[in-house]
Every structure is written in structure tokens, then in C-alpha cells.
């Protein structure tokens, strides 16, 4: 589902954020991506999102080589992927409902369908009663769950998360991880970047470990973790 083949990403400064990274993630897998700060985790996710292009190597998503995806095809590519960010990236001048509805409005759904799907997504993350609230009136954990609802509302095949528990206490973090596991169980491929080793090593999923842009473990399929 997600496949990197000797991917190198060099920034203008001459610094290699990723070096010769290769791995495959199967459909229905949930995989953690870890490593020290600056190891290249966000860079790797950005390549999948086409927020950046690799300097060398191939990224293949759902059987499609991303080098063949032109600039104009990027929005459609992104609509197939749900993303959760550490800082939520919610729009604070809109209600929870409107935040979650955004991907559906973009995808061009009819408003009744939007209402149904948004409520279903909010229900899954346990925030249905907050649909009319403004994001700022919610706690950090709740805001993150709004972000997750927005990421899954378009029913993507792939769900990416960059430090989704970065600002949360351990209990809330575990709760968020359980949510991701639930989505994985209904067939979504999930890739979560996190440096919280304590948390992710408890969860028994494959772990990809980056160090200074190199993949040092977890490359070859399930069962190889650590």
C-alpha cells in the first residue's frame, strides 16, 4: 500500500533528511515510525502527501508511482489520504462540524450526505455532542480527536499521523492510539510517526526506526519489529 524504494530526500542546504530509505507497508497494516527529533519522520510523511518530492528513489502509494502524479493531480491524491497533525491544524473560526465537513465539501458531497458522514465520524471519536462547539472551547485531546474525525471522514484508504500524541498526557495518548487501531481494524492502512517509544512499544505493531535519515530497523514486514 505504501512502498519506498531507496528514497533519498536532500534539502537545499545539502542536508540529507532521508537516505536510501526502502520499506513496504501492506494494506490493513498499522505501522509506527519512530526516531529522534530530526531523524526524518515528518519528511517521510510529507513525501507520501506530495508536500515534497524525493531527490532520488520511488514512492509508490496504492500501486501508483508518485513521480507520475502531476501538480494538478495532487489534490485528488491527497483526498485519498487522511492526515492527523501534532498541532491539529483546525480552523478556529469554524465549528467542529464545519471543520470535519471540510474534506467532504472539497470532495463535492451533497449536504445531506455530508451531515450523515460528519456525524458518523464525530460519533466514532466520541465528540458527537460537541458538533456545534468551537474548537477553542475543547480540550487538547478533544481537539486532536476532531482532527482525527476530519482525517477519516472522507473514508481514506490510508491514514497518516505526525506526532498525534505529542502534546497529550499518557492516558489520553493511549486513548488516541486505540482510535487509530479501531480504524485500522476496518481496513485502513495506518502510519503513525511518534517518538514516544514507551507508548508505541506496548502496542505490538511493526515499528520503523529512522536514525539520521536512515532506516535502521523494521523495514522487512511484520514480525521483524525491534
Amino acid at each position: 500500500m505504501i512502498s519506498f524504494d531507496r528514497v533519498t530526500k536532500r534539502y537545499e542546504a545539502g542536508h540529507d533528511a532521508l537516505r536510501e530509505v526502502s520499506f513496504d507497508i501492506e494494506k490493513d497494516e498499522l505501522v509506527f515510525l519512530t526516531g529522534h527529533s530530526g531523524a526524518g519522520k515528518s519528511t517521510l510523511l510529507r513525501l507520501i502527501m506530495l508536500m515534497d518530492r524525493p531527490t532520488r528513489g520511488q514512492v509508490t502509494i496504492d500501486g501508483r508511482n508518485l513521480s507520475s502524479v502531476g501538480k494538478r493531480a495532487i489534490p485528488a491524491h491527497r483526498r485519498g489520504i487522511g492526515v492527523v497533525f501534532q498541532n491539529h491544524r483546525l480552523l478556529f473560526d469554524r465549528t467542529v462540524f464545519d471543520n470535519v465537513a471540510l474534506p467532504l465539501i472539497i470532495a463535492g458531497y451533497d449536504h445531506r450526505e455530508i451531515g450523515r458522514r460528519v456525524r458518523a465520524a464525530l460519533d466514532k471519536v466520541g465528540l458527537l455532542r460537541h458538533e456545534h462547539a468551537m474548537p477553542l472551547s475543547l480540550s487538547g485531546g478533544e481537539q486532536q480527536r476532531v482532527g482525527i474525525a476530519r482525517a477519516v471522514v472522507g473514508r481514506p484508504n490510508i491514514l497518516l499521523a505526525d506526532e498525534p500524541t505529542g502534546n497529550l498526557d499518557p492516558e489520553l495518548s493511549a486513548e488516541i492510539m486505540r482510535l487509530f487501531e479501531a480504524f485500522n481494524q476496518v481496513g485502513v492502512t495506518v502510519l503513525i510517526a511518534s517518538h514516544d517509544l514507551v507508548l508505541i512499544s506496548r502496542l505490538h505493531h511493526r515499528i520503523l526506526t529512522l536514525k539520521d535519515g536512515r532506516l535502521i530497523s523494521g523495514a522487512s514486514g511484520p514480525g521483524d519489529a525491534l
Binding site: D28, M49, M51, P75, A76, H77, R78, R79, G80, V83, R89, L90, L91, L102, P103, I105, I106, A107, G108, Y109, D110, H111, R150, G154, R155, P156, N157, Q185, V186, G187, V188
Partner: protein, 327 residues
Amino acid sequence: MTGSADKATRRGGASLSRADLRDRYKAWLQHHRLCAADSLAKVLEAPVASLLTWLVIGIALALPVGLNVALENVQRLSEGWDSPAQMSVFLQQDVSVEQGDRMREEFSARADVDKVIFLSRDAALAEFSRLSGFADVVASLESNPLPDVLLVTPASALSEVGISTLREEMATREGVAEVVLDMAWLKRLQHLMTLGQRFVLAVGVMLILGVVLILGNTIRLAIESRREEIVVVKLVGGSSAFARRPFLYTGLWYGVGGGLAAGLLVSAALWYLDEPVRVLAGLYESSFSLLGLGLMGVLNLVILGGVLGLAGAWLAVARHLVRIEPR
């Protein structure tokens, strides 16, 4: 692992293969409506700032339009004199009244003449003394210094060449002292008006450019203040067209409001001038009154404003929106 049926719907949802063209069109329309309403609400949310923007645009548009309306009025006023309404044919002093009358009949028989009025020297003097207020001076004159005059109205469709031919032929007729056809000032006025029109055009082009730039800047600020929203829209798969739509509508609303303001300003100015112009025209025994913008004029201004608003927004969007990419 879950059933394959669930995955099938999931895939369908992601690639949107089920949403057929009709639904897409409906959703597109729906988003336009949403953007239009949202942008209008945002413009109205900051009434003072928006009012100022409208006024700036309104004044910039009202200036050339107002000048143009003024020019049009002068043009309309002078149109009545476009072809000389009259020629004054002064007869020699020794021409008798009978001879003068015969000349009147002769001239009126011409195809290029509409009508001829014979104004005898006595009648001319009487009129002069009445209208000039120099009755005493006139009464003290020993003899009447005025000649008999034939007031000739050329046929209305007569060309400029026809007029000079007519003038020539009348001037060479025995008994005619002089034919006066004072067109020079009219020519000068027409030149002035051509100049005025060019001036208005130049000012108009500059001010319209200014309006586009003002709107472009306003939209640029709007884009800056909604940077995060644009980033999020692009991150969750919004196209450039989707991201720019609200800003194009914002530009449209500012432009439409500015056009309306311009229409109101020009109409108010005309209304303010109408009364004095009427009084002035009355003094010149004319029923002239100002021709206003009319509903169509205001509508045209609103449309012009809207087009300029869109143009300014395009400018800003093309320059600034593309540069905002998720980082």
C-alpha cells in the same frame, strides 16, 4: 480483518467514482453559493473597513464617470448648434423694404433653405433697445445704424459643404452686404470637448487601474489573514480553484459595493447640481436640464465594479495564493 464489502465502499468513497457528473455539478454550484454567502458575511462582519473600501472604489469610479456625464450634458447642449441654426444675411443700406421682401421669397424658394425671416432695420432697432436696456441711447440716435437682416435657416440635413455653398451664393447676391455664420466658437468648443473626452478617458484608465490595485491589495490582506485556512484546504485535498473561490467572491463583493457607491455618489452630485442648472437654463430661455445616470447607468457601474473586483482578486490570487503551500 473485515469483510470485503466494507472495503469496497471505502475505496469508492476515496476515489469518488460513484459521485456522478450531475452530483458533482450540484456540489460545485452549492460551493459557489456557499462561498458567495460566506464571503459576503465576512465583508459585512467588518462594516467600517468594508465601507471605507467601497467608498475609495466608489470615489475612484465616480470621478471619471461624473466627468463623463458632465461632458455628455455639454455635448447635448451644444448639439442644437451643431449645424448653424441660422445665418444672418445683412442687406446693404440702400436696399428697400420691397427688394428685401423679394430677396426673402427668392431665398426661401431654395431647396437648401428651410425658412427665411425678414427682420427690418426698424424692428431690429426696437428689439435691440428693448433687450439691451439702452432704450435712451437708442432714442437719442439720429438715424438707425442697423441694416435690414434676413434670418436664414438652412435645411436641416444640409452638410458643411452645402452650408458654405449656400453662404457663398447668398453673399454674392446683389444687395447683400454680408453673411454672418459664426461657427468658430462652436468649432473651438468641439475641440475642447474632444480634448475633454480624452482627458476623461486617461483619468478613467488610471483610476480604474488604481481600483484594481486597491482591490488586489485588499484581497492580498484577506489571503494573508486566512493563510492557515488555505494551507488546511490544500492539505485535505482542495484544488487551487477551490482555495481561490472565496477570495474571488470577496473581490466581487468589494467591487459591486464600490460600483454601487460610485452610482450613488454621481447621482447625488447630479441631484445637487440639477436645481442651479435649471435656474441657469431658465435665464437663457432654455428648457435644458441635466441628464442623470439613470438606472442603467448605475447598473453598469455596479457591473463594472464587479468586473474590476474580480480582476483585482485574480491578480492577488495569482500572485499570492499559489505561494501558500503546506509546509
